[in-house]
């Protein structure tokens, strides 16, 4: 466990230390000029906790693509080619085994089997079966480790999302990104260690709510909260100077403020004053680094083409995916991208087609882009929702139209990049995609795997809170998924 005293030792910092991850994209012009040599930025770092990482990390950063609402595994990755034979038959009791259902369908008189209406084909050298809805991702399957047997405890969105990101259904715990920020610190002093992004999603889809706790720091210090980079208004809150105030004014103000605050430090002796001086200087730097971050005019045509035409629309999935790469490139540790609208209870074929069209190219482009830049081997990319969807139709079933209710017993996630073996599949489900039949993987195992790739032993990463040694991966035993590790 980490004694609470260490909180005090670490509360002095926010952003990381060592500048940009890739030397080629340094921002010398930002570091020159008005404040070069001024800020004691180098001493105000946000280092890893002592003893971290526990082992040599394979990945330095994580991009977590959260498909919020629960994508249907049956229509994307979990191909059941014989299911068509059972079209409209009642789901056999031998499969359901009396498992609990959400009360949205538990009163249904019948549970008619709804085979996917979408075509599947094999792709890549690994021959992965992929739905026609994901033509772009299908091209990168050899980089992907698909997990077909993920399961979770919760059956409704709010608790399930909270579970995926904090290891418990009850609000109040730190989120994955804030754990990582807390443990590993940051690699940049120009940007936050943990960033949350929320792209737009198709307007006809059933978008569920998000909660700030999904990127919150729970009982960890507030500085580990994910900073939301916004697609409208200031990209970082309060980043823009007030009207009529320019950068030169701010420099003059900060110079004066620094002088007066240093006098206060001399008078009071409170070391927090020095931290505050440094944080004001970092704020000033942030005002330059964020616009640079979001300006994609320097991206090549080839790169932009990879992400597709939507990349030029701020807030689109494609532009957000590109932003994720740019963030990681600049040393951000965790990027959590939350794409809403995957909760298809009614007209699933229509909504899911839109969801996939909205995101597929951006997802695939991100993998390819990272790979081309030699960044994929040190960036872990995770894709998945908070649960899966039922094989039986919610509401009326036709060949063209059906809905699916929440299904926590098995769903698909995938990982790619740093620390992960590509082109493999892990776990299997029964003929109805109703229960895992091989290698079940709990969402806490997924989180343990993410931490493992980052060089963290999840069992040793605990923080004392309310009398418990709390860890991200919960009380029950969890373990990294060895089979998919490179």
């Amino acid at each position: 466990m980490i004694p609470e005293a260490q909180f005090a030792l670490n509360r002095r910092q926010f952003f990381g230390q060592s500048g940009l991850r890739l030397g080629g994209v340094a921002l010398p012009y930002l570091l020159g000029g008005a404040f070069s040599g001024r800020a004691s930025a180098a001493s105000e770092v946000h280092p890893a906790l002592s003893g971290f990482p526990h082992h040599k990390p394979k990945a330095k950063a994580v991009i977590y693509l959260h498909m919020n609402g629960g994508p249907s595994q049956l229509d994307t990755w979990d191909y059941k080619k014989d299911l068509i034979k059972h079209y409209d038959e009642d789901l056999p009791d031998s499969v359901r085994k009396g498992q609990r259902l959400s009360t949205m369908t538990s009163k249904q008189a019948k549970f008619p089997v709804a085979p996917s209406k979408f075509k599947f084909a094999q792709h890549g050298q690994c021959g992965r079966w992929v739905s026609e809805l994901l033509p772009h991702t299908a091209k990168v399957v050899d980089d992907i480790a698909l997990i077909k047997s993920v399961h979770t405890n919760a059956i409704n969105h709010d608790p399930a999302c909270t579970f995926v990101f904090s290891g418990t259904e009850i609000p109040g715990r730190p989120s994955l990104g804030s754990w990582v920020s807390y443990g590993l610190g940051a690699e940049t002093s120009d940007l936050p260690a943990f960033v949350a992004l929320m792209p737009r999603y198709p307007k006809d889809s059933n978008g569920q709510a998000l909660y700030s706790r999904l990127w919150g720091s729970g009982f960890l210090p507030g500085k580990h909260t994910g900073v939301v980079l916004r697609s409208a208004g200031d990209p970082v809150l309060y980043l823009d100077n007030p009207p009529g105030v320019d950068r030169e004014d701010r420099r003059a103000l900060l110079d004066t403020l620094g002088k007066l605050n240093r006098k206060s430090f001399d008078a009071f002796g409170d070391p927090d004053i020095q931290t505050r001086i440094a944080q004001y200087e970092m704020a000033f730097r942030l005002q330059a680094s964020v616009p640079e971050l979001t300006d994609i005019s320097g991206e090549s045509k080839a790169t932009l083409d990879l992400y597709g035409p939507e990349v030029k629309n701020t807030g689109s999935f494609a532009s957000t995916a590109l932003l994720a790469r740019r963030l990681v490139e600049r040393g951000v540790r965790v990027v959590q991208l939350m794409h809403r609208g995957w909760d298809s209870h009614g007209n699933l074929p229509y909504e899911l087609t839109n969801q996939c069209r909205d995101s597929d190219q951006g997802v695939a482009a991100l993998i390819q882009d990272l790979k081309e830049r030699d960044m994929l081997d040190e960036t872990l990319v995770v894709w998945g929702g908070e649960f899966g969807r039922t094989v039986y139709s919610q509401g009326t079933l036709t060949k063209e139209k059906y809905g699916r209710d929440h299904h926590p017993r098995n769903f698909c996630m995938w990982m790619a990049g740093g620390g992960i073996k590509g082109g493999i599949v892990h776990g299997e489900t029964d003929d109805f995609s109703y229960s895992p039949t091989l290698d079940p993987v709990h969402v806490n195992d997924v989180n343990a795997t993410i931490l493992h790739c980052l060089g963290i032993d999840h069992e040793r990463f605990t923080v004392r809170n309310q009398g418990l040694d709390v860890r991200l991966t919960g009380v029950e035993e969890a373990k990294p998924i060895k089979a998919i590790l490179a």
Binding site: T103, I170, L210, L237, G244, Q466
Partner: protein, 1030 residues
């Protein structure tokens, strides 16, 4: 007394597992329990389910006894005969304890400490916080707190700093007790009072301030997890701000803390609880709830009870009882059965599992003021009197009424005018406006008749319309509409239009160009009646109803006036129709009854509606018939209705007044139990669907027993509340004084203020904590007295400026050798900036307000169906209220709060972090709230004096309660001159800078100068000294 930790350990006081220096006598609680708790209890403690080898080390009887293996774990005085010493010391991987697979190892020092303890007879102590606090005599002389602290400080080797200067003292007190800086008057009064006792008098003034309650409540509301939304899924608004206001009021009237406790935990069970006491029970309705479809009700009923039980235990007992939800507590002596017995007190609230996403989820009450019943009775009487008057008129009118539908009455066909609009839309209809606000204009503006006309205009299409007119306006035979229109010659519209609603807005007529694109052209949906009438005069426009497809008998329930691209006045609108009274339901009672048969009559009272529906052939008693007829004559009959206009108008006015009064009274969530309590069980492994042993409400066995009001009956929450504040309870008073201490000094005497259990930190000054706890109870749980006691101590009054050694040796200031210096909380920061600006509005209480918030805080996370998906900012005073009244949406809290560590209130927060980040710097520099406040302060600076130095001094006094030094003036002065120069050269920039925010800058001001002073004020409000309680 001595500090319970050796001085060398000050820097790591938070870490409880410190070996005592070899020379010191060992204390079980200080030295041994932390080691056993950390390394042994999880397998050899309270938790029977996970206990290994049948061995318990948490109680002496078990530890000294023979174990399952036949070995004796601890033989007092003889380590070599004690099995645990062998297991600890051995190199044998199979025997060593803790087992090799456990990664936490015992250090050598810890091993030696255990050995010394066994050698010394292995004495046990009950966990300190479970013993009733006992107090010896306070150290002699001076303030009790200082006596205790002073003794400890001598041991700590740090010299106390001198008393802070007076301006620092008053600012510290003002923030601590009211969350605001001192006003100029408060400052002058204190600085001018040179008599002994000036400080205490100043403290008393702040304790008496109504803002004291606001500051105190803010801390309690973190504990109570109060917010304005449900917290899960849709996160819709909930209405329980009356609870927040109750807390403010309770602190202000200095409700004793024991009563404060009882009312919140069990106010509903008090004999004849007052509205106030019911409102207080909102404490345990503040928890987050869900309305998510698909939720399994049993699961959430269970969860809510767990949450409420845990929160209550933690708030008053400082115990992290929730560990025992799944299993016996591993460290604290709380078994799962203890937990579920406690939970049973909270398991029977009458609230549903799903909150329905409703503003009010029952049980709720109207928060009626004391004179509510009298007010309502007065309304009822006024209505009854008026109704009696109307009925008297009705009888008289009825006696003369001759029904034209009666075959005996001769027919009189005539032309009649029905006026639909005169002075206002029909009473009770829903009026909506698109374009500029609804404007009735009276003379000298053009008015055709009556007192007012309606003025309509604005760019593009603008309209005023009414809906839900009841009873409907019925189109008579051969009707022709007329409306009086006056076109503004200076702002001539392109088109004017009148529309009618009958199952849709499908009936329109217009004059002028065909530019309003509504309905199908050339049909009754969009009929052109001619060119625009002449401007600058009243013109009566007419058209037959037939062209608009309004057949005789059509009920019209709404109409609209629309204008495109100019201004028009509308007045007296209505219809002229032929009236054959013999067939007209608005003339003939008989015809009306026939027409109303078989359907519902809108607006009619229930019995009348039912009689009408049954048709005229159904036999009625003479009384019923008379009632029907009087209703008709009063509300329907065109001929007789005007006779009732006065009383009807008066009744409507009373009804409106009454509904306005009712609407002004909020409702709030309260606690009420189900008539029959739910059965409660130990839930195995914390699963909602795995009941184990049945339990009844009870308190944890390790604590003193509960006294039940009815010894043979089931324990009640009131029993529990009384037990919480009983003198036998060792925890509540300690937990409470510790939390107030934390509020005043920044860190609690027990740093883990949420946990006084065995895993919590040890108190830095245990004897002081106990003394305060006992004193607090003996003084009748008087919170103001306690606050006064703390802020009048020398420890609180000391200078926070201290030598480097002091900061280094005692970074958290646990010894209090220097005064507390802590960053202001989120609310204090915003409130003090507003205070300095002169913009702060001190109005207390009421619905949460929506102040400035950057765009896209709610929207990106909001659920489409949620009523908090879109942020609609308030205007005017609401922007400048104290932060405690800010609307708090749990899933997307206001960034100005969250950025400074305010919790999102999803769960209780007992101690806020005080972080220091660049995002905070950006907020304080750039957020409109702070920059507007800077301009407000700059405006006040300019008004204070014409002299620049005086202006600096004014700002320093307002913000820091002190005068600036000469050097500071020079530094700030240089900045001011630079900014002034810039803005003189760029007046447009200056203009922008002073117009940020809704409040207008003063008229006739030197704009570049105000802009430069605004920059200075922005600077001063960002000084470290300004954002810290020094």
């Amino acid at each position: 007394m001595t500090l319970h930790l050796p001085p060398i350990c000050l820097a790591v006081l938070a870490c409880a597992t410190l070996p005592a220096a070899a020379a010191e006598p060992l204390s079980f609680n200080r030295d041994i329990r932390p080691i056993l708790s950390e390394h042994c209890f999880s397998c050899h403690g309270v938790d029977s389910e996970h206990r290994k080898g049948g061995l318990r080390l948490d109680v002496p009887e078990a530890a000294y006894g023979e174990g399952k293996s036949g070995e004796i774990a601890i033989v007092p005085g003889k380590p070599e005969e004690s099995e645990i010493w062998y297991r600890i010391a051995t190199d044998d991987d199979d025997d060593v304890m803790p087992p090799t697979k456990i990664k936490k190892r015992l250090s050598d020092a810890e091993k030696q400490t255990l050995k010394r303890w066994i050698e010394g007879g292995a004495p046990y102590q009950k966990h300190w916080a479970f013993e009733v606090p006992k107090v010896g005599a306070a150290p002699a002389g001076g303030h009790a707190i200082d006596s205790y602290l002073g003794a400890a400080m001598e041991g700590g080797g740090l010299a106390p700093t001198a008393e802070a200067d007076r301006s620092t003292q008053i600012r510290r007190v003002a923030f601590t007790l009211t969350g605001l800086p001192p006003s100029a008057e408060e400052l002058d009064q204190f600085l001018g009072d040179r008599e002994p006792g000036a400080y205490e008098r100043m403290v008393d003034r702040y304790l008496a301030s109504k803002h004291y309650g606001e500051e105190m409540a803010r801390h309690w509301l973190d504990v109570a997890r109060y917010a304005d939304t449900h917290g899960m899924h849709l996160d819709n608004e909930r209405q329980m701000y009356a609870y927040r206001d109750w807390v403010v009021g309770a602190f202000n009237r200095n409700l004793s803390f024991d009563q404060f406790t009882i009312e919140q935990v069990a106010g509903d069970l008090l004999p004849k609880p007052s509205v106030d006491q019911m409102v207080a029970t909102g404490f345990n309705r503040c928890n987050i709830t869900t309305g998510e479809g698909g939720t399994i009700p049993e699961e959430f009923i269970f969860r809510y009870a767990v949450e409420r039980a845990s929160t209550t235990a933690q708030t008053w007992l400082g115990l992290t009882a929730s560990c025992a939800v799944c299993h016996d507590h591993k460290f604290d002596p709380i078994t799962a059965k203890d937990f579920y017995s406690f939970y049973a007190f909270f398991h029977s609230n009458a609230d549903p599992a799903l909150d329905g996403n409703a503003l009010l989820t029952n049980p709720s009450i109207k928060v009626t003021p004391p004179d509510y019943d009298a007010k309502i009775a007065a309304f009822t009487k006024r209505t009854a009197d008026l109704q009696a008057k109307a009925d008297a008129i009705g009888k008289e009118v009825a006696s003369r009424y001759k029904d034209p539908g009666d075959s005996l009455v001769p027919s009189r066909v005539s032309e009649v005018e029905h006026v639909w609009f005169e002075d206002a839309f029909p009473a009770g209809s829903k009026v909506t406006t698109q374009g500029h606000p609804l404007a009735y204009s009276a003379s000298p503006a053009p008015v055709f008749s009556g007192n007012a006309s309606i003025k309509r205009g604005g760019p593009g299409i603008a309209q005023d319309f009414c809906e839900n007119v009841a009873p409907p306006l019925v189109v008579p035979q051969g009707a022709k509409f007329f409306v009086h229109v006056y076109l503004d010659p200076a702002d001539l519209p392109k088109e004017i239009m009148v529309q009618f609603f009958n199952n849709g807005w499908n009936h329109r007529v217009f004059w002028g160009q065909d530019v309003i694109p509504w309905g199908k052209a050339g049909t009754g949906e969009r009929h052109r009646a001619g060119d625009l009438p002449g401007a600058g005069k009243w013109v009566r426009l007419e058209l037959p109803a037939g062209k608009m497809n309004l057949a005789p008998g059509t009920p019209v329930t709404g109409y609209a006036f629309a204008v495109q691209g100019g201004t028009a006045y509308f007045d007296k609108m209505g219809m002229v129709g032929k009236s054959d009274p013999a067939g007209d339901p608005t003339r003939s009672f008989i015809v009306w009854r026939k027409a109303a048969a078989g359907k519902d009559t809108k607006g009619a009272p229930g019995d009348i509606n039912a009689w009408l529906k049954e048709g005229p052939d159904k036999e009625r008693t003479p009384e019923q018939l008379e009632r029907l007829k009087i209703y008709y004559l009063q509300h329907v009959c065109a001929e007789t209705k005007p006779r009732f206009a006065e009383t009807a108008g008066a009744i409507a006015a009373v009804a409106k007044e009454r509904s306005g009064y009712e609407a002004s009274i909020p409702s709030t969530f309260v606690w009420r139990d189900l008539p029959k309590p739910r059965e409660s069980f130990v839930m195995l492994r914390g699963a909602y669907d795995k009941p184990g042993e049945k339990v009844v409400p009870d308190t944890p066995a390790v604590l003193p027993p509960l006294k039940k009001a009815d010894p043979d009956g089931r324990a009640t929450r009131l029993d529990l509340a009384n037990w919480l504040v009983s003198r036998e309870n060792p925890l509540t008073a300690r937990v409470t004084v510790n939390r107030f201490w934390q509020q005043v000094f920044g860190v609690g005497l027990v740093k883990s203020s949420h946990d006084l259990g065995t895993q919590g930190d040890l108190p830095s000054h245990p004897e002081l904590l106990d003394w305060l706890a006992v004193w607090f109870q003996e003084e009748g749980w008087d919170v103001k007295k306690l606050m006064r006691m703390m802020v009048t101590s020398q420890a609180f009054r000391r200078a926070s400026a201290a030598p480097a050694q002091n900061w280094k040796d005692d970074p958290e200031n646990r010894l209090l050798a220097r005064g507390p210096r802590i960053r202001l909380d989120a609310e204090q920061l915003r409130d003090s900036a507003l205070f300095a600006s002169g913009l702060l509005k001190m109005q207390m209480g009421g619905k949460g307000v929506k102040t400035y918030q950057p765009p896209n805080i709610w929207e990106p996370v909001g659920f489409r169906g949620s009523n908090t998906a879109t942020y609609r900012r308030d205007n005017g005073d609401a922007l400048y209220r104290r932060s405690i009244y800010t609307f708090l949406k749990r899933t997307a809290p206001a960034p100005f709060m969250a950025n400074f560590d305010a919790p999102n209130r999803e769960a209780s927060c007992f101690r806020r972090e005080r972080s220091n980040t660049p995002l905070q710097a950006l907020q304080l520099l750039n957020d409109v709230q702070y920059f507007e406040a800077a301009r407000g302060l700059a405006t006040r600076m300019m008004a204070s004096s014409t002299d620049g130095k005086e202006r600096f001094a004014f700002a320093y006094r307002v913000v820091l309660s002190r005068e600036p030094s000469e050097e500071e003036m020079q530094i700030v002065g240089a900045f001011f001159r630079k900014q002034l120069e810039k803005y003189r050269g760029a007046p447009a920039e200056a203009d922008k800078a002073i117009k940020f925010g809704d409040s207008p800058p003063p008229a006739g001001v030197d704009v570049p100068e105000l802009a430069a002073w605004t920059q200075v004020a922005n600077l001063i409000l960002n000084l470290d000294e300004s954002i810290v309680r020094n």
